[in-house]
């Protein structure tokens, strides 16, 4: 789960990381009030869960409250890479002397957290990594020992941070790592961490991603999820415990397992069709979960055919069959459906489907067979 910039920065400040004074506005009028309260020039920043907002014109400087209001009016409602801007952050503007990068993430290859710093922070940090990777200083962190002071000194030394700022860097890096661990984050990033006009370090932009598997032990973070900008279907899917991503194609896919779901999508493409979604009903899915998944697929007007591909392991085919039947009791479906059930309790599952004698529903034995039938059905629909 990704946090907005303003959410990340509030979290950072709870771990002793200095951030600019600022507040979130939902309207130009609110932006005016906040800018007036802050006094002096401000930055108006679109709050969207995607990168590249700066280049898209989602970040603007404003010298006066009136100008802040005007900029907020321009930015609110913008569409940035498919994300509608519903909030802007109004931050006190800072003079930027230097832009530093400081981030903690999981290095899956090393199986350890990794903290990275660079004297060349800012929007082009990935380019810095490509062109001169040695300009990014890296320290792997033993998860049992945590980030040690000497490692922060290695970073400060490596990026040639002026010595008078080492103490501030110590506090910020310690805070960032604690924030990462205590939030069960997979990413906690300050970019840029600036040296401001008065020569102090300040975290002017921040990003955090939280490990979804750990949200159960961080209810206060789970509440921060912003569902306002995502498709309603994705919100519904999450509530039902499903993993769903809307795509542009015409074949609705319901599959158990992420790998098989991707392979199923790949197959529809291979046979000339195109998937309407990625949908993984997960392991051990029960009838109600399957019914919810079916409702989400059918709510997409682009869908011309539905492909069920269930390979039963921990999920039992009879339960999937019951789920399909339950959903079809509630939702009238005129679309062609292709069902493939293989694995645990497959005979029972197939028997339930066959006995129900649903119109427009055909069964398939192999994955290729199922994909071809679904593509053909979508074409003729």
């Amino acid at each position: 789960m990704n946090l907005h910039e303003y959410q990340s920065k509030i979290r950072f400040s709870e771990f002793d990381i200095p951030i600019p004074k600022g507040k979130v506005a939902r309207s130009p009028q609110e932006a005016y009030e906040i800018a007036k309260e802050l006094g002096g020039p401000v930055v108006v920043k679109a709050q969207v869960l995607t990168g590249g907002r700066g280049k898209a014109g989602g970040v603007k400087l404003a010298q006066t409250p009136e100008e802040a209001q005007q900029r907020a009016d321009e930015i609110l409602g913008m569409d940035i890479k498919g994300h509608k801007v519903l909030r802007v952050l109004i931050d006190q503007a800072s003079e930027i002397k230097t832009e530093i990068y400081l981030g903690v993430t999981n290095d899956r290859a090393a199986r350890q957290p990794l903290i990275m710093a660079s004297a060349e922070g800012g929007m082009d940090i990935e380019e810095v990594n490509r062109v001169s990777p040695d300009k990014i200083v890296r320290e792997h962190i033993d998860p049992f020992l945590g980030l040690r002071d000497y490692q922060i000194r290695n970073l400060a030394y490596g990026i040639e941070l002026p010595r008078e700022l080492w103490k501030q860097m110590m506090q910020i890096a310690r805070g960032l790592y604690r924030c990462y661990v205590e939030s069960d984050a997979t990413l906690a990033e300050i970019n840029p961490l600036i040296i401001d006009g008065s020569g102090n370090l300040l975290a002017v932009d921040g990003k955090m991603s939280i490990d979804d598997s750990a949200l159960y032990r961080h209810p206060e973070l789970a509440e921060l999820r912003d569902t306002s900008a995502e498709p309603a279907a994705e919100t519904q899917a999450r509530a039902a415990g499903l993993s769903y991503v809307k795509l542009d194609g015409e074949i609705g896919c319901m599959v158990n397992g992420a790998g098989l779901a991707m392979a199923t999508m790949d197959m529809t493409k291979l046979f000339g069709g195109s998937p309407a979604n990625f949908l993984d009903i997960g392991g051990g899915a029960k009838a109600d979960k399957v019914a919810a998944a079916l409702r989400i697929i059918l709510a997409d007007p682009n869908v011309k055919a539905v492909l069920f591909n269930i390979f039963g392991g921990i999920t039992r085919c009879d339960e999937v069959a019951m789920g399909i039947l339950t959903a079809l009791d509630e939702v009238k479906v005129d679309l062609p459906m292709v069902v493939r059930l293989v694995g645990t309790n497959e005979e029972e599952g197939r028997r339930l489907i066959d006995e129900a004698m649903i119109p427009h529903m055909v069964s398939a034995a192999t994955l290729a067979d199922a994909a071809q039938k679904a593509v053909a059905a979508a074409r003729s629909a």
């Binding site: 990704n2 869960l49 990168g51 981030g103 903690v104 993430t105 999981n106 290095d107 899956r108 290859a109 199986r111 350890q112 957290p113 990275m116 940090i125 990935e126 990594n129 033993d142 998860p143 049992f144 661990v181 997979t186 990413l187 990033e189 970019n191 990003k207 991603s209 490990d211 598997s213 750990a214 159960y216 032990r217 991503v245 795509l247 158990n256 397992g257 992420a258 790998g259 098989l260 991707m262 392979a263 999508m265 790949d266 493409k269 291979l270 998937p275 990625f278 997960g282 392991g283 390979f311 039963g312 392991g313 921990i314 999920t315 293989v342 694995g343 645990t344 192999t366 994955l367 290729a368």
Partner: protein
Amino acid sequence: MSILANKDTKVLIQGITGREGLFHTEQMIEYGTDVVGGVTPGKGGEWVLGKPVFDTVKAARDATGANASVIYVPAAFAVDAMYEAIDAEIELIVCITEGIPVLDMMKVRARLDHSSSRLVGPNCPGLLTPDQAKLGIMPGHIATPGNVGVVSRSGTLTYEVVYALTQRGIGQTTCVGIGGDPVNGTSFIDVLQMFEDDPETERVVMIGEIGGTDEEKAASYIAAHMTKPVVAFIAGQTAPPGKRMGHAGAIVEGGSGTAADKIAALNAAGVKVAEHPEQIPDLL
């Protein structure tokens, strides 16, 4: 021959009295796996499916001589279950449970590296040596004995491939699902090495997916160390690019992780890569 488990493997079930544990234990026993008992704290002394239940792994191991364990306990307790099995020196631990936080797994992994145990998983279907033993949730009837080793990061996609092999009369030595979590106990390379060393395994199927760089590393390993032919499939060729936030991921993993990268790396290592799962038997 086979790898990791065979008919002589004595298997313990951690979480045997839970709904999923019970269901799959029954299937494991039916398959012929030598399930010697189970562990559910607070239910020691009971019997389920004709097997004794113990309060602790140590007690269960001492009483049964178990050398393998399959974990079906909920995510919030699975980490403790893994540590308990490691501490009891269980040789092979298979963790089916999904949803374990990655920071927890980093610690488990560090502990494993200094232990005598091997962990398969978490968030995996487990493994199956046809007609001998099934440790986990793979449906038994889709596999048949033979000389192809199968290793996969995926769950149900593994079944798909094993099923396709069996349908075409191509049997397997052992099928191993290593799980798709960012940090897990056993890697592609670990299993490829075991297959390379297993006299009965003649060919190997490897099933990967987008994300991470494990397939690329496996390709390097295959090029350098494997004499047996490997056929691969990579899922996610049509998947939309992830909604990645921030730059740290890109800095750590660089440009790799796409299906195209992985396929290129595997091809360069002399590995045939199938266009779809059911094409794998043709390439073997």
